[in-house]
Symmetry: C2
Subunit: 290 residues, 2 copies
């Protein structure tokens, strides 16, 4: 399929790479800044793959375009004005921050009345497109993307929603080409999915960050935590988080908790998080052990 | 070495298995309940390894005793009264909950003035032993242990502290026999290590639990989160938690955050945790991006 990407952030970068590797063409890349658009468009232009690959450091691997899929004409054009959008794409993927959707959608959808338009935002409803497009939907790959880290897109669950059955089929075909994990999910339930992802990913990562802060108080390196972090993640493949829980809060060991709170009494927000998480663990375990 | 284990909880179970596999003898196992002591002692008695192994389900693998290390006389005796402690062990490992240490240590240390005594508690100081033993220390394997899940002890960092150089050497030899990751760390800094472990493991696991609660509101299964959970843990092997962060709080996308808070407004503690974690993420990223 011929695809135009609106946005040049983490998600657009990784999704674009995955689509390109699956044999699709990224005909245009829009970013508010021309430079960002150019950096990404260069990655999506097969001619520059070799040069680009040689620029990558070993710690930042990049997917190499499958030559079987590459076609010399699939040059990707960088643009920084929506007025320069081409009407030639089959699908326009809008991967901008949520707060920009309301402004971007009307301009993008005006370009081609027969194409399919999707956004990639977990928390935004499909109704964002109401009145602006005929065929539209949501294409939400649930993962944490950073530009400097390669991800295996084939295991990323992708959640779809569509305005009509034909569009649903188009999005399903597109999703199937990059991942083996595709689901239909309506906007209402997707809100819960995205909120759960905030807990399981963003708040989890912040627990790592807070651990790092605490380690710095003891002049200890973050690396010592990695076996524990890995095992904590691995455990919930085998047992529920409730069964997996250990530590002072689940034992409700008040002496240990009080001593730990004293160590961070100078940081009210950190102390508050410690107390509330401990209380929540205790409530949760008590309720689930009944 | 001849070892006596005081405690039959998660840590005692896993540490005992690792020590046994390394060729040590667990001569006695103490638990407050005779049944728990017997269950564990049976696992630590080579004669019952075959029978025991056959009782394990495939989902709960157990290390198989290395026959080269097994000696027929190394039967493990279960006891539920500290008065039955034998003076024959080289090392007494006290793996009871922190609040029980003050009561247990004097009784255990009275049994043999030449032996080495250790506790396994991250947050408790070595001074717990002051006045009760001559050779003593701390042996803290930092990991989350559940009985139903096998762990690879060889990668678990083990933090040691000792009353004297001879004891330090004994503990180092013991730790080296079960893991390749051994550190000396004093009580003062170990408090920070243990607090960091609470954030990186217990609070992280609770974030998974809260994600599960939120998913249930949308009638969604927990399993869809596993690729995200795995990637979140894997990312911090490559980049700092600060660089790895994504999501609405780091973008400070107030619209998304407000909408997410409305979804859990009926649960004040959950809402509170959401708000404080988001605020903490924002503060942390702002401070570290300067």
């Amino acid at each position: 399929m011929k695809i135009t990407l609106i946005g040049a952030g983490n998600l657009a970068t990784h999704l674009g790479r995955a689509l390109l590797n699956a044999g699709h063409s990224i005909i245009q890349v829009f970013s508010r800044t021309q430079e960002s658009a150019e950096v990404l468009a260069m990655q999506f232009s097969p001619q520059s793959q070799t040069a680009h690959a040689s620029l990558q450091s070993q710690s930042e691997p990049i997917s190499v375009l499958n030559p079987a899929h590459a076609s010399p004409q699939s040059q990707s054009e960088p643009i920084s004005a929506l007025s320069r959008l081409s009407p030639d794409a089959d699908i326009y993927i809008i991967a901008v921050k949520d707060s920009a959707l309301a402004q971007v959608i009307p301009q993008v959808c005006a370009v081609n009345s027969r194409a399919v338009f999707v956004h990639t935002a977990g928390s935004m409803p499909i109704s964002c497109f109401d009145g602006y497009a005929t065929h539209y939907g949501v294409f939400y790959p649930m993962q944490t993307f950073s530009k400097a880290r390669q991800v295996d897109f084939s295991v990323i669950p992708c959640f779809l929603e569509a305005s009509d059955l034909d569009t649903a089929q188009v999005l399903k075909t597109l999703a199937d080409s990059i991942t083996s994990s595709v689901f239909y999910l309506d906007s209402d339930r997707r809100r819960y999915l995205h909120l759960a992802a905030v807990f399981a990913c963003n708040f989890t990562n912040h627990c790592y960050a807070l651990a790092q802060q605490v380690l710095q108080r003891g002049d200890l390196p973050f690396d010592v935590m990695l076996p524990l972090i890995d095992e904590t993640a691995a455990k919930v493949h085998q047992m529920s988080p409730c069964k997996a829980q250990t530590g002072p809060a689940v034992r409700y060991d008040q002496n240990v908790m009080d001593a730990q709170i004293r160590l961070i009494a100078d940081d009210p927000l950190l102390k508050d998080i410690y107390e509330r998480m401990s209380m929540s663990i205790h409530q949760y375990i008590s309720a689930n052990n009944d």
